[in-house]
């Protein structure tokens, strides 16, 4: 194909611009990959010389940091189980039953969800958790996140279930299944791709959150990783970049691993079986 000169110039200019933008976005990521293996890492980007695991050795030796990762896992896993199971049941009921005004219910919940786990509600949340006697517990964090994430999870999942033909469960019930059997045998496996989305989404949300655990937790034994990163400061108050980099990499791995596992195990595919 022959290009006129202005068109060719336009293409070159566009490619150059795209490359520059790409580099700007790639720089922090490259730092994120190189710095953990560099014993003399600073905020500038540099190739490690030599490559070393000494930063990781220091991090693994830090029991507070390791405990924090475990705390993050407990809080994220607890929140995910609660959000996914409650959202599935609620969304299924909202999708399949004929409750009057169910559309309005979902939208109002969705509207308030951004408030519940948002910083605007921090004071009331603090007071509620405090008077419930749950301060400085994993449960406090799990419940707060569940309250914040559930409405959106229900909304996403309800939309997903609405798109699944009722005839799946209807055929099961005509064949002799009770509504509970039809739900577990037929509906749940078909909804599963939607639930997986909710699991990943809520895990990432809780895993990466700083403010709520920072406010609701007191003792260092309960702090999650997002808060623990805060502890890699020298006594002079300057960040210890080497440790921070290594810990950040470890901290991000579970999320990456979860994505890989989900797309390998479940994919985000749909199987068919309904003839449209």
């Amino acid at each position: 194909m022959k290009l006129t000169f202005p068109a060719l110039f336009g293409r070159i200019a566009f490619s150059a611009l795209a490359t520059i933008i790409g580099i700007i976005f790639a720089l922090p990521l490259l730092w994120f990959i190189f710095a953990p293996f560099n014993a003399r890492a600073e905020l500038g980007l540099a190739l490690p010389d030599p490559w070393t695991l000494s930063n990781f050795a220091t991090v693994f030796g830090n029991s507070f940091a390791m405990q924090a990762l475990w705390n993050s896992f407990i809080q994220a896993a607890g929140g995910v189980v609660l959000v996914a199971s409650a959202a599935t049941l609620a969304a299924y009921a909202l999708s399949r039953s004929s409750i009057p005004g169910k559309g309005a219910v979902t939208y109002i919940l969705l509207l308030f969800s951004s408030v519940v786990s948002g910083s605007a509600a921090m004071v009331p949340i603090f007071l509620i958790i405090s008077s419930a006697g749950l301060m400085d517990t994993h449960l406090a964090v799990i419940l707060t996140f569940a309250g914040g994430l559930l409405p959106t999870a229900m909304f996403i999942l309800r939309d997903f279930i609405d798109g699944i033909p009722k005839s799946y469960e209807e055929s099961a019930m005509v064949a002799g299944a009770s509504p509970v059997q039809a739900f577990f045998d037929v509906a749940l496996p078909v909804i599963r791709p939607g639930i997986v989305v909710i699991v990943v989404w809520s895990f990432v949300n809780i895993w990466g959150s700083f403010l709520i655990p920072f406010i609701l937790l007191r003792s260092s034994a309960n702090m999650p990783a997002a808060v623990a990163i805060y502890s890699f400061y020298s006594e002079a108050g300057t960040p210890v970049v080497t440790l921070l980099a290594a810990y950040s990499l470890i901290y991000s791995l579970p999320v990456v691993a979860l994505y890989l596992f989900v797309s390998w195990k479940f994919g985000f595919r749909f199987f068919g079986g309904i003839k449209a």
């Binding site: 033909p165 005839s167 799946y168 209807e170 055929s171 099961a172 019930m173 005509v174 064949a175 002799g176 299944a177 009770s178 059997q181 045998d185 037929v186 496996p189 078909v190 599963r192 749909f270 199987f271 068919g272 079986g273 309904i274 003839k275 449209a276």
Partner: protein, 367 residues
């Protein structure tokens, strides 16, 4: 097998009445088709037999037992869905055996029975496949196998063939007809395809706007449609309907319409009664009872040629009487028809159907 009975069943969805005070019964071993255009209430009626909808009022009986408020699982019925509703995460063996699983049958036994049924339907070699890995025709047979795997009291079909292409549909229709002869099952079959209803049913219930317009054998519905609606719905192409002005002269019935020549039809008391209400009648003649004739022939209608479609064993000749009023004839010839610009189509008096001003059939002499 068991009979099914509707007693004054009404079903409303808010303002909309889908089924309006319908009563009819389906005998043990009968294959009844609910036939009608979309929105006529036929699928709602079927879903009420299945228990997937609850009547607003009235009763539904299966085998003499009132099941109006019984959960679907307790009705012991089988249903084939329009979209097949095969479980996408189960292979064919588990799909077909699912009704036996919920009945507590052991794995070996239920898979054995599923294989038997699948073999009859020629999908026995696909038992390990997922529904997404088989063709549309095979999916249809899988959903049929799932319905046939256990002895149900009544079999319900919700337009099961409408998603198949024309050739597969004919094949599946023939198989269902064979199955019905073989098993003598009580079946309720919903369709909007009059050919399917004619081919399969022992009786057809033609529905329109939530009511049953005519409930009779296919032959009866074809020969003596109760209303212009039924006449227009059954038959391919449907019956030609011509609005006429009727009068009585010399003891014969005379009909007047543009391009229509009538030599005088025999009068009857029923016709006289209809004429005393209104002289606006509807003349009906089936396309297969029309023939090409010379201009000026008696008992004939002429108009400019609109279309001449050669279908192989027959030709469809359509003439246009203006304002969309068309008359179609089926001419049984495998030759190409050479036609003039104006075509005359003739018929005999015995093939004439008459409907009164309300569209109700006027019984012919001797009916």
């Amino acid at each position: 097998m068991a009979s099914v009975e509707f007693r004054n069943v009404t079903k409303s969805f808010g303002e909309f009445t889908a089924v309006s005070d319908v009563s009819f019964d389906i005998g043990d071993g009968e294959f009844v088709c609910l036939l009608g255009p979309s929105g006529c209430g036929k699928t709602t009626s079927l879903r009420m037999i299945a228990g997937l909808e609850t009547p607003t009022s009235g009763q539904i009986l299966i085998g003499g037992e009132d099941v109006t408020h019984l959960h679907p699982k307790d009705r012991n019925i089988a249903m084939v869905f329009q979209d097949y509703a095969l479980y996408p995460h189960m292979n064919l063996a588990d799909n077909i055996a699912y009704p036996l699983k919920v009945r507590g049958e052991a794995v070996d036994k239920r898979h054995g029975r599923a294989k038997e049924v699948a073999d009859v339907l020629k999908i026995g070699h696909l038992m390990d496949r997922l529904p997404s890995q088989i063709s549309g025709g095979q999916q249809q047979r899988t959903s049929l196998a799932r319905a046939l795997v256990y002895p149900a009291r009544t079999y319900l079909f919700d337009e099961p063939l409408s998603n198949l292409d024309a050739k597969l549909r004919l094949e599946a229709r023939g198989f269902l007809n064979h199955l019905q002869r073989d098993m003598g099952m009580t079946a309720v079959y919903v369709t909007h395809d009059q050919a399917e209803a004619m081919a399969l049913a022992t009786r057809i219930a033609v529905m329109d706007q939530g009511k049953i317009v005519q409930y009779a054998s296919p032959i009866e519905i074809y020969r003596r449609p109760a209303t212009t609606f039924v006449a227009n719905f059954v038959g391919n192409p449907p019956m030609n309907l011509v609005e006429v002005e009727a009068s009585q002269g010399d003891g014969k019935l005379q009909l007047k319409a543009e391009g229509l020549v009538i030599a005088g039809l025999p009068m009857s008391d029923a016709i006289g009664k209809a004429l005393s209400v209104s002289n606006k009648l509807t003349l009906g003649v089936r396309p297969e009872h029309l023939d090409i004739a010379e201009p000026g022939a008696a008992n004939a209608i002429s108009a400019p040629l609109f279309a001449n479609e050669n279908m192989g064993p027959e030709s469809l000749v359509t003439i246009d009487r203006g304002e969309g009023a068309r008359v179609t004839a089926r001419i049984f010839t495998d030759d190409h028809l050479e036609l003039d610009a104006n075509v005359t189509l003739s018929f005999t008096a015995e093939h004439v159907h008459l409907f009164d001003s309300k569209g109700l059939r006027i019984p012919a002499l001797g009916e």
